[in-house]
């Protein structure tokens, strides 16, 4: 290797190192450490942590709470992902029209994204409060009885889903709006000359052209459905009886409330595997249907 080539090589690593150091320290190392930790027992007092093979995974399979939060998370994803995407697309289509007060409308839809989820959760607490919350006040107008939305195991999870959709839709809308604005108006004109209805034009032209955005947004939505749990801390703490607990929230509880770090590492490994499979699957499934310019 010549001197100048060696110098270039040094430069390359120097330039890469800031990002590399941060990524390795806070992402790669903890991830690998978690996977390793899932094969060891939790150290308690004088007892050292020891290698126990797949014992943690056996515990996990037999853990009814794990299956409960996993199914909660499944339903949470099933509702939040399509609904938040559909809602964001509808809002973007509306806001993309030439309307009076458009800037205000766009801002209004984006506000939930700007607000911290913790604050948002507090606002929603007031909506759901039995008796004098917003929802019950409206129900009162129609002489409907009071309802404890967050306190009932049947509805607790859905209150969390509603908050997540409300929070996410505005954020996704921005991406759809940006994509819509890149579609040339002449395409609409050309379709109008041919007699295509608005619905036909959307189905055959706009929606296909938005597919790259849909792919991006849906991957984000999937990740968020496992990641966005802040409001559970404020609103239900996973209750009642784990009815609104999600995988990540359960991991937090296991690790920092019960201090069973090895079992938490096991749960984390499972979560990582789920996310990996979903992301890869999405890319392969959707990539064929996506038209990139």
């Amino acid at each position: 290797m010549t001197n100048s080539a060696r110098l270039q090589w040094v430069y390359a690593w120097l330039l890469l190192s800031p990002a590399l150091v941060l990524l390795v320290t806070f992402t790669h190392y903890p991830a690998i450490k978690s996977i390793i930790a899932s094969f060891y027992s939790t150290a308690r007092g004088k007892r050292q942590s020891v290698y126990i093979g797949l014992d943690n995974y056996h515990t996990l399979v037999a853990d009814p709470v794990f299956w409960k939060v996993l199914s909660n998370n499944f339903w949470y994803a099933v509702w939040t992902i399509p609904l938040s995407i559909a809602l964001s697309l509808i809002m973007a289509l509306w806001v993309n029209e030439k309307l009076r007060g458009l800037a205000f409308l766009r801002m209004a839809y984006f506000t939930p994204t700007v607000l911290p989820l913790i604050a948002v959760a507090n606002i929603w607490l007031f909506f759901y409060t039995p008796g004098f919350g917003l929802i019950d006040q409206i129900r009162g107008l129609f002489d409907l009885p009071e309802q404890n939305w967050m306190g009932s195991p049947n509805t607790a999870l859905y209150t969390m889903i509603a908050v997540a959709i409300w929070k996410e839709a505005g954020f996704f809308m921005i991406f759809y709006l940006a994509a819509l604005q890149t579609i040339p108006p002449s395409l609409r004109d050309a379709a109008a000359i041919e007699g295509a209805s608005k619905v036909y034009f959307f189905r055959r032209v706009v929606f296909p052209l938005l597919m790259p955005t849909t792919l991006f947004v849906s991957i984000n939505a999937v990740i968020n459905s496992f990641r966005l749990v802040d409001h559970i801390f404020v609103m239900t703490e996973g209750g009642p009886n784990n009815a609104s607990s999600l995988l990540l929230f359960y991991i937090y509880e296991t690790a920092f409330k019960y201090w069973d770090t090895a079992y938490a590492a096991t749960l984390t490994t499972v979560l990582l595997m789920i996310l990996t499979v979903l992301a890869i699957g999405q890319f392969f499934f959707l990539d064929k249907r996506v038209h990139y310019k």
């Binding site: 002449s186 004109d189 050309a190 379709a191 109008a192 000359i193 041919e194």
Partner: protein
């Protein structure tokens, strides 16, 4: 050409378009004969594209009427006006291949599959697109995209074609080819074509009738020849021709004249003679190969252009005497810009009693 043209007549009456309190089009009246080729020509912002969009129905009129055939279509949807349109940007659907782009309208109208295939094959054959049917627009050259856009218009079977600067994104050579092709196609199909352009060469070479527009008004509606030979206004005179007509005051010919008239001469109408009505000095020369454009400064400080042979050996600073046939002299009212039927008497006098012996 077809005996009875397939295309329909289009008339616009007192067509006005107002954007935010400003008239973009102010009351234009035009007739487009069935099966004719009309160019809407003018500088950018003159309202020619707006006029086309009003005729297409993509833009609602502020007032006035659009008639196609004998029917008032002012309130009719674009798809029910019997029109096809080709856009400047081609407006091809980027996610559909060539075949799907061409048959887009047929699918919208739920034409059955075999008919669709037949029409597609016919159009592909007509435009030489057979080998490109599976390509996406991004895999085509500009000229090929242009053909696909034309194909989409042809396959629709409509009798009126509206073209919005369809060639402006192509390079010069391709543009010349497509000019001929579009003109031939229009005659073959017998459609009524309205063609918006800012390029006078396109307008003059292709159209039966040229509508010259300026600031939302029609300056002149005439055949290309009439437009060139008898421009109705100063604007028309200075817009048409490369280089355009040169205009100057009457004092160039009659130093004492005070008339409010602007005179015009086309550079090719001016000849260098030994004794002519204009004495001048060559200010600069633009060499064009076959021709050379001589800019001659007159005694009173105005400029007259003279087209000379490219072999001329004259140089800057040479004195020249210029002449022209009186029939080639155009006169316009200086204030309104309208063409005058008669040349002012003092100019006629100056031309008939030329001062001898200068030179």
């Amino acid at each position: 050409m077809v005996d009875r043209p397939f295309g329909q007549t289009i008339q616009v009456r007192n067509l006005t378009k107002n954007f935010g309190g400003e008239d973009v089009l102010s009351g234009i009246d035009l007739t487009f004969e069935a099966g004719s080729f009309t160019a809407l020509l003018g500088p950018s912002g003159c309202g020619k594209s707006t006029a086309l969009r009003l005729i297409s129905g993509l833009e609602p009129v502020s007032s006035g009427q659009v008639l196609i055939g004998d029917t008032d279509v002012t309130q009719t949807a674009p798809s029910a006006r019997d029109i096809a349109m080709v856009f400047q940007s081609y407006a091809l659907f980027p996610h559909l291949n060539v075949a799907e782009n061409i048959t887009f309208g047929l699918r919208v109208r739920k034409t059955n599959r075999s008919e669709r295939e037949d029409k597609l094959r016919h159009v592909a054959d007509l435009l030489g697109l057979e080998k490109l049917l599976d390509r996406k627009p991004s895999e085509l050259s500009g000229g090929q995209q242009q053909r696909v856009a034309l194909g989409r218009a042809i396959v629709s079977g409509k009798s009126i074609f509206l073209m919005d600067e369809p060639l402006s994104n192509l390079d010069a050579k391709l543009r010349a080819e497509m000019r001929e092709e579009i003109r031939a196609l229009q005659q073959k199909l017998g459609v009524t074509m309205i063609y918006v352009t800012h390029d006078q060469v396109e307008a003059v070479t292709m159209a039966d009738q040229v509508v010259l527009m300026n600031q939302g008004r029609v300056e002149q509606c005439a055949t290309p020849r009439d437009l060139y030979e008898t421009p109705a206004t100063l604007f028309a005179a200075k817009f048409i021709g490369t280089p355009p007509m040169v205009t100057f005051s009457t004092r160039v010919l009659a130093p004492d004249s005070t008339s409010n008239v602007t005179l015009g001469l086309r550079p090719e109408a001016v000849q260098i003679v030994s004794e002519g009505p204009i004495t001048a000095m060559i200010d600069h020369i633009e060499y064009l190969g076959a021709d050379a454009m001589l800019a001659c400064a007159t005694a009173n400080g105005e400029t007259v252009l003279c087209r000379a042979s490219g072999s001329t050996r004259m140089t800057k600073g040479d004195p020249v005497s210029l002449s022209f046939a009186p029939a080639d002299l155009h006169a316009f009212a200086a204030d309104s810009g309208q063409r005058l039927q008669h040349i002012p008497p003092e100019i006629e006098a100056a031309l008939s009693f030329q001062k001898p012996g200068l030179q």
